[in-house]
């Protein structure tokens, strides 16, 4: 799928048909056309915040490093690439190419 092909310079943005609202510091999202709900918590909410303006995967990862202590994460780039890949696969985030 997308996961293997995304590089750090891939430009990303929030999909237009997704709405999100905060709840107790977590994020509830809904894909309007599919009528499917998603929940984000912890550092995942930061990914959504970082994508308020279109950003590259590299910039998203940098914002996670700024906001969270990631010293104990072995492969942050790998983890983030996979997670953002899931957001793209679910139609919550679009690639701008």
């Amino acid at each position: 799928m997308m996961i293997g092909t995304m590089d750090l310079n891939a430009k990303l943005q929030r999909a237009p048909n997704v709405i999100a609202t905060e709840l107790d510091g977590e994020m509830v999202m809904m894909h309007i056309e599919k009528g499917v709900y998603f929940g984000l918590s912890g550092s995942a909410t930061q990914v959504w915040s970082a994508l308020e303006t279109p950003s590259t995967l590299r910039e998203v990862i940098a914002s996670i490093e700024t906001e969270f202590d990631v010293s104990e994460v072995d492969d942050l780039t790998g983890v983030m690439t996979e997670f953002v890949g899931q957001l793209v696969d679910q139609g919550l985030v679009d690639r701008v190419d």
Binding site: I19, T21, L23, D24, E26, V28, M30, G39, L40, S41
Partner: protein, 339 residues
């Protein structure tokens, strides 16, 4: 935050400036009732509701009208041909009983089907019909039973799958001095309060036997059903209440009642899964608006998951657990008891 709710049409309509066209289409409406904090004028006697004196124009109208037997724009590829509509309009047909058209959170028009019984028709008009009107008016409608102690301003809402024991729990709590605010349909307004429902509760024969309540002289809800209308009388809470918490009843493989608190996004999921007639939201194009509304309700209230043994259990420990939560006790987390 920052949502411009003040611009909504229903809040700007005043009696002086605008009258719903349905007011000119209907005949005399001799019956007026109070339900969910609204005045409902009807051409049908509704013995389930609380009668009130007429005061100006009603908030809701229930009247006989021309309701087509098929939805005019029926799409043959659509699965649910007995339910259709659009924003601010629901059309529904219950074959052999009644057809209804609910518009603008105001007008509930009905046509009895040939051979349809009036009491069965009322069941649908006061359930799905009123529920649809409430959603059109912007309420979040939860499928549950709300109970409150008479001297308190907040209520517990029992939610969970059909058959899990919401009604039984509410009626058993009533026997312990609680008042029932709403049975089955709990509309939550923009102020976050639950409006009072009908002054009766649905009582199953089985529940009546379990709680030693005699069904002699009680009216059957529908002919042939082992379900009765239990008048609440003084045990009906007639004023809106804030939400103390939601108690989510879940049958589980447990030996005794276990409570835990649901937090964060899962609170949203639990409330979303316990909406009344959620299929109406799609029809009314209200799903997006509801996301924010449900999240605000979830944020402002606690949600407890109360697991009870699947069968053959004593109801008292369940009632004790709910009373404890209502009185400020923290749920005992099974995980916390592990060594």
């Amino acid at each position: 935050m920052g949502r411009n709710v003040g611009a909504r049409r229903r809040t700007t309509v005043t009696q002086d400036t605008m009258r719903h066209p349905a007011m000119n289409e209907c005949g005399p409406l001799p019956y007026v009732y109070s339900i969910y904090g609204l005045a409902l004028a009807s051409d049908l006697a509704l013995p389930e509701l609380t009668p009130i004196d007429r005061v100006g124009d009603p908030d809701l109208v229930l009247r006989a009208g021309d309701v087509p037997p098929v939805w005019e724009e029926t799409d043959p590829t659509k699965l649910r041909s007995f339910l259709d509509g659009g924003p601010q309009h629901m059309w529904m047909r219950i074959p052999g009983t009644v057809r209804m058209s609910v518009r603008d959170g105001f007008d509930i028009a009905y046509a009895l089907e040939p051979g349809g019984m009036e009491d069965a028709a009322r069941l649908f008009l006061l359930g799905s019909g009123l529920g649809a009107a409430l959603m059109q008016r912007g309420y979040v409608v939860i499928h549950g039973n709300a109970i409150s102690l008479p001297d308190r301003d907040d209520a517990i809402v029992c939610i969970g799958d059909s058959g899990v024991g919401k009604s039984t729990t509410a009626i058993a709590m009533m026997q312990r001095g609680f008042a029932i605010l709403a049975d089955d349909v709990c509309p939550i307004g923009p102020d976050g309060r639950i409006e009072p429902g009908m002054p009766r509760a649905k009582l199953w024969q089985e529940t009546a036997a379990q709680l030693s309540i005699s069904t002699d002289g009680l009216a059957q809800i529908r002919e042939g059903d082992a379900k009765f209308n239990l008048p609440l009388a003084e045990s009906h809470c007639r004023e809106a209440r804030a939400i103390h918490s939601f108690v989510w009843l879940v049958p589980a493989d447990v030996d005794a009642v276990q409570c835990s608190e649901v937090t964060g996004v899962e609170k949203f999921t639990v409330l979303r899964n316990n909406l009344y007639r959620p299929e109406f939201l799609q029809l009314f194009d209200l799903e997006v608006e509801h996301l924010g509304q449900i999240a605000r309700i979830a944020e402002g209230s606690r949600v407890f998951k109360v697991m009870r043994p699947r069968s053959g259990f004593d109801i008292d420990p369940l009632l004790d657990a709910i009373s404890l939560l209502y009185n400020g006790g923290e749920p005992v987390s099974p995980a916390a008891l592990q060594p």
